[in-house]
Symmetry: C2
Subunit: 175 residues, 2 copies
C-alpha cells in the first residue's frame, strides 16, 4: 500500500512504486482514492502487456485497511528510515509468522498512527532516500533475489536478456 | 549518472535517484544540464544535513562523459531491463576488473549509443519498473548490503533506529 500520495507532484513516483511492486514479486498494490486515474491506467497497461497477475485496489481509508489486514491475520510492515534496520534475522522472523504481508510505504510525511499500528517499522538504511528504493530492496531481500527470475504468464512482450541492445519477442496470442 | 531527465515530469524521480545514490554508497552523481537547479539544491541540503561525502556534478554531454570514463580506465555499467541479468557471477566479474564504476540509469527512452558504449548492460529483472529501484538493488547487491550500515561523518541529524516512532539526535557542531 502506498500512502501520502500528492497528486501531480508524485505522479511518477507512485507509478514507479506500482511498477516495482509488480516487477519484484508483490501480488498487488493498494492506492489511495486521491491517486490519479492515469496512474491506475498506466499500471493496468503494463500488466496487460507484460503479463502476470497483479491486482490494483483503492482504499478510502488506509488506516482501516491496516486494521482490517491485521484482523484477518496478516502482517503489516511499514518501511521507514526511522525503523529498525533490515537484517536477515528480521526477515526470517517476519517470514516465520507465515501471514500475508502488507508492505506500507509513504512519502516525506507519514501519519503517526502508522508507526504504532504497523507490526514492524523497518528501515532500509537510516538515511533519507526513496520509497521506490525501499520497497525494491525489501522485496529483493525478502524473496532472496528469486523474484527477478519469475515468469509473467500471458505476456504479450517478453525481453530476451542481451549484452547489447534490445531483443524482445512479441506474442500475438497470450497464453 | 542519470540521463534522459524530463524537466518537471521527472523532478521527483531524479531527486530520488540522487538520494538513493548517496544513501546506498555511491560517491556522487552526474546530472545533465537540463536538470532543474531545485533538484541540485535539495540534494545539497540533504548532504549538508545528513552528512557524508557526495559530489553532485553536471555534464553537458553524457556520451563524452562515458567515453572519458572508459579512457581513464573506468567501467561503465548501464542498468536496463533489456540487459543480461544481474547475478553474483556478473557482480564478481565487474568487481574483479578493479576500476571506478560509472552506473548509468536512464528513463523510458535511452539513446542507442549507450548500449554499445557501456561495458555492461545489466538488467535488474527484465520487467519495466524504475531507474530508482534498479539503482538501489544494483548498489545493495554490489556492496553486499554493507552500504546500509555506513556512517555519514559530519551529520547534523542522526536517526536512532527504533521499533516505534521517530528518534533522532541533533548535533549542533558537525565533526
Amino acid at each position: 500500500m502506498r500512502i501520502g500520495h500528492r497528486p501531480v507532484r508524485d505522479h511518477r513516483v507512485t507509478t514507479h512504486v506500482g511498477l516495482v511492486a509488480r516487477a519484484l514479486g508483490a501480488d498487488g498494490i493498494i492506492l489511495e482514492e486521491t491517486v490519479e486515474e492515469s496512474i491506475i491506467k498506466s499500471l493496468e497497461r503494463v500488466v496487460e502487456t507484460w503479463g502476470g497477475q497483479f491486482s490494483i485496489l483503492r482504499t478510502r481509508n488506509p488506516r482501516e485497511t491496516v486494521v482490517d489486514w491485521k484482523k484477518r491475520g496478516g502482517i503489516v510492515v511499514h518501511l521507514t528510515m526511522y525503523g529498525e534496520n533490515i537484517s536477515e534475522e528480521l526477515l526470517n522472523y517476519i517470514l516465520s509468522q507465515n501471514g500475508d504481508i502488507l508492505i506500507v510505504v509513504g512519502g516525506e510525511k507519514v501519519p503517526s498512527w502508522l508507526y504504532t499500528h504497523a507490526d514492524y517499522n523497518v528501515a532500509i538504511g537510516n538515511q533519507p532516500h526513496s520509497e521506490v528504493a525501499a520497497l525494491a530492496i525489501f522485496l529483493d531481500r525478502l524473496f532472496r533475489g528469486r523474484e527477478l527470475l519469475r515468469e509473467f504468464p500471458g505476456a504479450k512482450i517478453v525481453v530476451i536478456p542481451s549484452k547489447r541492445g534490445k531483443r524482445v519477442v512479441r506474442r500475438n496470442e497470450s497464453k
